[in-house]
């Protein structure tokens, strides 16, 4: 028996929203999804008029939907933003080569300028080489640190004043769980913000912060958006996988858990007197850093000196305990 759209528009429902439990037809779903992102943007004051925004674009489902929706909303609500696509090539054979082709298609479909930066050019190391050096357990740490800095540098090169990424509600809920599991209080306090900004670094915004991963995939499916969908070959060993599996099981039982975890994360109150990192600048590259050397330079140093395997576990403890 076909279910009717909850809005009483008369059309047949095509999905049940995990976020609300309502059943919507295609048109009402598009409207709900887009309106919610618009609300995240306006209530969070994520942008200002005439701002140049670099959209972190990987060719994957989240950034493809992000680029599409930002362009759509920019036009519909006249945000007056100048949008650009920024892509990072980590040098992972078979993974990044193909997804970059998808970004190039996005560039053409959405008529947005595109810049691609590679780890090879920026750091002299591809992720494939990093993994050869470091092994498969801590390599994601390197990639995450390098990518954040690469996005920053690329955005500055493009003259952008902010970076938009496609992090979705599931990602943020996973991060909350991960930070709890690892005792990373400093990150726990920051990870739920829709805008993360620190002195000297470009603000990073997450317009899709409240979008469930399921809805992003459904949106892309029904809007017929093309995206590249392969798991990074090194991902199966990532610590995040534990949090992800757990979250997916929880979602099946009680779909609102994702929003509820984010709500908990946003409302955590920390004890006073906890040491938090003080912001300074890196003595090597000038990038924002809470240590004398920023994380990227520290990791690069350990790679270049051939000490990377010991380097990561010691340094990450040090960073965490200050």
């Amino acid at each position: 028996m076909p279910v009717s759209c909850t809005t009483n528009c008369g059309r047949k429902a095509i999905l049940r929203r995990p976020k609300t439990g309502t059943s919507l037809c295609k048109e009402c779903f598009f409207d709900a999804f887009e309106t919610e992102v618009h609300h995240t943007i306006t209530s969070g004051k994520l942008f200002y008029p005439r701002q140049l925004v670099a959209i972190g674009a990987s060719g994957g489902k989240d950034s493809t939907v992000l680029a599409y929706v930002m362009k759509f909303l920019n036009d519909k609500y006249d945000y007056k933003l100048n949008l650009m696509l920024l892509s990072i090539d980590e040098g992972i054979t078979g993974y990044r080569d193909d997804s970059l082709n998808t970004v190039k298609e996005n560039k053409n479909d959405y008529q947005l300028p595109l810049k691609i930066l590679s780890y090879q050019n920026l750091y002299g190391w591809t992720m494939d080489r990093v993994v050869e050096e470091v092994g498969k357990k801590n390599n994601c740490t390197f990639c995450g640190v390098f990518r954040r800095q690469a996005l920053e540098r690329g955005a500055v090169m493009m003259g952008a004043s902010c970076i938009a990424t496609g992090h979705n509600a599931d990602d943020i809920a996973e991060t909350v769980l991960m930070n709890i599991m690892r005792g990373d209080v400093a990150r726990l306090g920051r990870c739920c913000a829709a805008i993360t900004s620190s002195d000297g670094a470009l603000p990073r915004v997450k317009p899709l912060k409240f979008c469930y991963e399921k809805e992003i995939v459904m949106y892309a499916y029904f809007r017929k958006l093309k995206y590249f969908s392969t798991e990074c070959v090194y991902a199966p060993n990532a610590y995040r996988g534990h949090a992800r599996n757990f979250l997916k099981e929880l979602e099946r039982i009680r779909p609102s858990v994702i929003m509820d975890i984010i709500h908990s994360g946003e409302n955590l109150v920390f004890q006073t007197g906890i040491k938090t990192p003080q912001q300074g600048t890196c003595s090597s590259c000038g990038h924002v850093s809470s240590q004398e050397l920023c994380q990227a330079c520290t990791l690069l140093l350990s790679l270049n000196e051939g000490k990377a395997k010991q380097g990561v576990s010691k340094k990450s403890h040090k960073i965490r305990s200050t």
Partner: protein
Amino acid sequence: MGSGSLKISVHFGGGAEILFDNLKQHDLELPLDNGTWNLKRLIAWIRDNKMKSKQELFVKDDSVRPGILVLVNDTDWDLLGQTDYELCDGDQVHFISTLHGG
């Protein structure tokens, strides 16, 4: 009743196709017997007949692994009774994985 089989098309997307020799569309003829062909039975059938390895990446207990979305004729299976949905001739079933980077 006419034919002795139930003809449906199964589509794999979002990376799930990798588990099935990178073939996105599989046209199936399922034998009509005394049992009911619902999604629960189809998923078990796919696991037993279309997968040589890594079954745990597609199936968990009597359903798909959490993170794999299921659509029948472009409709969310959450609206159709999930694994209890009974297949009809000509149905298009989509399995879309969300378990990859964005």
